[in-house]
Amino acid sequence: MLVLVTYDVNTETKAGQRRLRKVAKKCEAYGIRVQNSVFECVVDHTQFFQLKKELSEIINEETDSLRFYQLGNKYKTKVEHVGAKTTLNVEDPLIL
């Protein structure tokens, strides 16, 4: 299924900037960056659970936030892209 992950990390402090990098890195391991701080991850239930757990361990719940949108398996009809920088879909034929 496709999960959209978005995050907001408070970067006023050094620790905040570190958290931001960590969150971005973790998201990158699971999915594709579609915009700054927006990731599309094609994962199964276990992987989704892991991702949620790992991310919530990184952030500081007082100042940062995470949002997960589950778009299911038939997500292709639900996503539309307008404008520059189209991204790869990891389930379409991948020919580079």
Binding site: I32, Q47, I95, L96
Partner: protein, 343 residues
């Protein structure tokens, strides 16, 4: 059944593949042209002189992702295989059976039986689908001939004889191959099988699809813990994935031949997508290659009902399903290996 994941094909010459976190990164020079999480991939296949970093090779081997390199003329070059692990007992049984000619014949027989049966099915199906465009009586006659061969295969106890029967069947089947090409007949004419190098458009397509299929079968076998290099029909030769070739026999016509015919008959590919070299060898152009791979990937996503497992699976998982069935037989959980008999 597990989920069929995607395969990444890299056709950009001089691309370099590396590992970044959990991602495979494809770059050309300084520029990054793609980045895909490893957990979405089943395999990576590079064509032309793409290189890969040792870290990526290691990550792929660890996660059971097949990483294979083909030359720009689609000759198979190398596959990266990790440390031997998995089921030792299963592999030892495989070696024992492979050394024993009598036992080998029993398995090889099933591969070849299915191969001929599937070839026959393709001919039969053509008589039903295009009765006005092909010569039905000769097709029917060949179909009967193949049935006779199938009967003889079932009682064969000798590997040499089995290879002979296989050859006869293949001969007869390929005689009709040209008639199965219904569109673009001027550009796609099948004179007979030629390989290394393929000398015409049809053979170029066939060779490419066989290479891809062989690699997919080999990684399926290794996924279930078998040794792709120790075969029953194909004898051992260093560097040859004999078992993969064995198992491919039954899948060739259903998966590869039909795919190639589809490409031609639906005009997905045309004469502009080929290059002729001075040596007479025919190659696909970069664009042709991309179209081919895209169609191949889409074909793998199509759902079929597996005739033996009675379960809906994507076409791309058929090699894996067959590898499972073979492992089941070697483990002693099944009476015999159940080949893929397409209906």
């Amino acid at each position: 059944m597990r989920k069929l994941l995607n395969t990444l094909y890299v056709t950009t010459p001089d691309a370099y593949l590396s590992l970044n976190g959990e991602n495979v990164v494809v770059s050309k020079g300084e520029e990054e042209i793609g980045r895909i999480p490893l957990h979405n991939l089943e395999g990576i296949c590079t064509i032309g002189w793409a290189g890969a970093s040792p870290a990526l090779m290691y990550a792929c081997a660890e996660r059971n992702i097949s990483l294979c390199f083909l030359s720009s003329s689609f000759r198979f070059q190398t596959r990266v295989i990790g440390e031997s692990k998995g089921n030792v007992v299963l592999r030892k049984t495989q070696y024992r059976l492979s050394d024993d000619e009598k036992e080998s014949v029993k398995i090889a027989r099933n591969f070849i039986f299915a191969k001929v049966c599937n070839q026959k099915w393709i001919l039969e199906r053509a008589t039903r689908n295009y009765p006005m465009r092909i010569d039905v009586p000769t097709f029917k006659e060949s179909s009967k001939y193949l049935t006779e061969i199938m009967k003889r295969i079932l009682v064969t106890e000798d590997l040499e004889l089995l290879r002979g029967l296989e050859g006869q069947a293949a001969n007869r089947y390929f005689q009709h191959f040209n008639e199965l090409i219904l569109q673009q007949k001027d550009d796609f004419y099948f004179h007979g099988r030629s390989r290394r190098p393929p000398m015409d458009n049809v053979n170029a397509l066939l060779s490419f699809s066989y290479t891809l299929l062989a690699n997919e079968v080999a990684s399926a076998l290794e996924t279930v813990g078998l040794d792709a290099y120790v075969g029953f029909l194909h004898r051992d030769r260093p560097g040859r994935a004999s078992l993969a070739l064995d198992m491919m026999e039954e899948l060739r016509s259903v998966i590869a031949d039909r795919f190639v015919l589809n490409l031609i008959n639906k005009k997905i590919i045309n004469s502009k997508h080929f290059l002729k070299k001075e040596s007479g060898a025919v190659l696909l152009t970069d664009e042709g290659r991309k179209i081919f791979l895209k169609a191949w990937q889409e074909r793998k996503q199509e759902q079929i009902t597996h005739p033996r497992l009675n379960e809906k699976i994507p076409f791309g998982l058929v090699p894996y399903a067959q590898a499972l069935l073979l492992a089941r037989f070697l483990r002693g959980d099944a009476e015999e290996y159940a080949p893929f008999l397409w209906k």
